[in-house]
Symmetry: C2
Amino acid sequence: MSSDATTIPTFSPLYRQIKALMLRALEAAEWRPGEMIPSEVDLAVRFNVSQGTVRKAIDELAADGLLLRRQGKGTYVASHADAGSREGTRFLRLIPEDGQPQTPQSVPLECWRAKAGHEAARILQVAFGAPITIVRRLLKFSGRPAVVEEIYLPGELFDTLDLEMLQQYQGQGTFYGLLESHFGVRMLRAEERIRAVIADPLNARLLEIEQGQPLLSVERVSYTYGNRPVEWRQSLYSTAAHYYLNELS
Amino acid sequence: MSSDATTIPTFSPLYRQIKALMLRALEAAEWRPGEMIPSEVDLAVRFNVSQGTVRKAIDELAADGLLLRRQGKGTYVASHADAGSREGTRFLRLIPEDGQPQTPQSVPLECWRAKAGHEAARILQVAFGAPITIVRRLLKFSGRPAVVEEIYLPGELFDTLDLEMLQQYQGQGTFYGLLESHFGVRMLRAEERIRAVIADPLNARLLEIEQGQPLLSVERVSYTYGNRPVEWRQSLYSTAAHYYLNELS
DNA sequence: GAGTGGTCTAGACCACTGT
DNA sequence: CAGTGGTCTAGACCACTCC
């Protein structure tokens, strides 16, 4: 590799270039969630590098959670629909006090279109007034309501999402599974900002707790490829019978 | 990097055995925090394997946060006293609303001995009635109180810890830095259980907020080598001017 | 048995740090 | 310059899955 003397020489190892190429293939949906990607040898031929170099690229993509290696079978594109054991607690860290981590039941309440206000526009990186889709729903663990949330999505990407679709999809997978399979948008990572708030009458009723009780306010921004924000979510977690678990390392 | 806990490993690759040997050396303090460990070639000779195998063992230990690789210099034992940029937010995820992540000022309030109750005994895995050391302190960001906490430590390990020591150490590093340098106990990972609660009069006064305001209750258990619990901490975070940030991936 | 990922080795060379 | 970690290659062999 030759470097231009006028530009700052930035060294990028070969395996990272391969990783970038594979990222493009993933983003372009050449390989789709749940599918198997070509074998290491095939990829080595395709990119004209050694198998070890392709291997290191795949290793990083797997560490990033984008690929899934299965010895003896192949390497697969990670999918929210995998129903992998980890999927239930990957993004929702709320756990019943007296039980194991479990996937809650989703109860869609409303779904409507709106125009992005200043905050939604800033966070979702769309124009002020651009169409957005808003979902309001409830999550229950063993029949007990634990979460109320409003989810703001850029309307461009999710223009056919409606309450009926949400209801039909109930029990068939997670919300992100729906977004991935029906809209081709895969959430890769998210940031949550957590604060303590007081329940207002409406949400207290939905969560079946008393007004004035403390709740966790969890504000989440989720990102897809290229660190593009595609979801803004404001949730209220009842911690009367559940807790938010975070592992630090 | 991680192995499935549900399946019994039927085969242990060489690099994992090397990793286990290096873990023992770390635990036995043959290599101390902040120090450089032998070079890859030296370790390859010592363990009678190839450099690549030692390399993979080191890679995993570095990924686990136990070692720190510095190209051109060597591999170092990670230390809480490194004052690495990440150290401030590694275990404390509280961030001022209007500023950058920063390390808070610690204000020790009390430090006393006690006997472990049932809960402390269970969590710290010591006998009921065993001696424990309790620290009560306040954390401030830019002079504003944000956290009140009580820290429960097994008395065996920290029998000389007192208020004077805590006060003298103020500003010289983090609490975990003190435990590491003065008591040889290094925290490797922790679990936090987060709930929303209402401030009682005492803690409201300490946090300079009004009684009845909502707070985050953060219960932390920290572990050292061998998943041994060595700290139980109960904290109250004021989220009036701060938020708890969690990155999901 | 064929095909996949996983391990281990040996050697060459590159990039970074300090002397 | 020497010493360190970082990259890349090529090949042999092992472990796992499925036909």
